[in-house]
């Protein structure tokens, strides 16, 4: 993946507006967080292949870390801490946030075809 540049990613996001798309959204700090540090908490959530349509999509950030929000008819999809992006399989937009060791902490991915499950 490569570091996010707002203009590039915004242009990719706009291509999905008002289309039926599949979304993968995820956050994790790993299954071993409280094993390695008993003061830490294991937290995480993921949704894979939510089939949605959004009318607006925007990426915002300070040049290093970004947030993205998708406005749907009856709600929102949001991710914070995004740092990197890539187009995978020619048409799937992957956004992810990595920690300084390169571990994935958050992901927001959009595709017109389902993600492999």
């Amino acid at each position: 993946m490569k570091p996010i540049k707002i203009n590039e990613v915004q242009e990719k996001l706009d291509r999905f507006v008002n289309k039926k798309v599949y979304v993968h959204v995820e956050t994790t700090n790993g299954a071993y967080a409280s094993h390695f540090n008993d003061k830490a908490y294991n937290v995480g959530a993921y949704v894979r292949n939510a089939n949605v349509t959004f009318s607006q999509a925007k990426i915002v950030g300070d040049g290093k870390v970004f947030r993205a929000g998708l406005k749907m008819e009856m709600g929102w999809i949001y991710a914070e801490g995004l740092t990197d992006w890539i187009i995978e399989d020619e048409a799937k937009l992957l956004l992810a946030g990595h920690d300084r060791e390169g571990r994935l902490m958050v992901a927001l991915q959009i595709s017109e075809t389902p993600f492999h499950y």
């Binding site: 993946m1 993968h24 995820e26 994790t28 700090n29 790993g30 299954a31 071993y32 094993h35 008993d38 993921y46 990197d84 890539i86 995978e88 399989d89 799937k92 992957l94 992810a96 990595h98 060791e101 390169g102 571990r103 994935l104 902490m105 992901a107 991915q109 993600f115 492999h116 499950y117």
Partner: protein, 221 residues
């Protein structure tokens, strides 16, 4: 001597970290070993160091790493097709029946798996429980012995001293070779040991201490 050993863990790399030394010992004796790997570790957060994988490419990368590690260990591999982080939400009895069918075909004398409730990762606990249930469902005369591996920090206090303590220092290099096949996971635990051959003797001793013994509890039915 064992007739056939079947290892049942959920993730590519569990076999290398958890049992590569024990596996190598069995292979040296000529005992066939089969790894039933539950998932492809699809939801792992380590993406290589520096990062070279992403959420969508990780499964295929980890599959290749798994195949390579099994070649290094000279063992058969079957991938069970469950999804990382979801094993505990599957129907336990269905998973147990699936495993029982495979075990009846392979007819092992020994099964190695995780110790339910003491193996930290929910997939470890769930697949370990299903494997133990699978063996319980077998005819008593056909049942293999089960070795269960605990990982939790407090397991010796809770469960007592494991009855199987394998000194695998003799197979240390082989174990490291297998672990290092799982290159995408190098950002985590592996990062510290990736260059173990260049470590000073004190650090190297610590790594040998950490990975040189593999402990199991014989399951009592």
């Amino acid at each position: 001597m064992e007739k056939h050993v079947v290892v049942i863990y959920p993730h590519p790399d569990d076999e290398s970290f958890g049992a590569a030394g024990t596996i190598s010992k069995f292979r040296e004796e000529g005992v066939p070993v089969t790894y039933l790997c539950g998932t492809l570790g699809e939801m792992g957060r380590n993406m290589g160091s520096p990062t070279f994988a992403n959420r969508e490419t990780l499964p295929e990368i980890r599959k290749k790493e798994l195949i390579k590690a099994c070649e290094v260990l000279d063992i058969d591999l079957q991938m069970l097709g469950y999804r990382d982080k979801t094993v505990e939400y599957e129907d336990r009895n269905e998973v147990a029946k699936h495993l029982k069918g495979l075990l009846e075909k392979l007819d092992p004398s020994l099964v190695i798996t995780h110790y339910p409730e003491h193996a930290v990762h929910p997939d470890h606990n769930a697949l370990g429980a299903a494997a133990i249930e699978a063996v319980r469902l077998m005819d008593e005369g056909q049942r293999p012995v089960v070795w269960a591996q605990a990982i939790s920090r407090d397991y010796p206090e809770v469960l007592g001293t494991p009855d199987i303590i394998n000194d695998v220092r003799k197979y240390f290099d082989k174990k490291m070779e297998a672990i290092l096949c799982h290159d995408s996971q190098a950002g985590g635990i592996l990062g510290q040991i990736k260059n173990y051959q260049q470590m000073n003797s004190e650090d190297r001793d610590a790594v040998v201490e950490q990975f040189g013994t593999e402990r199991f509890y014989t399951w009592k039915y």
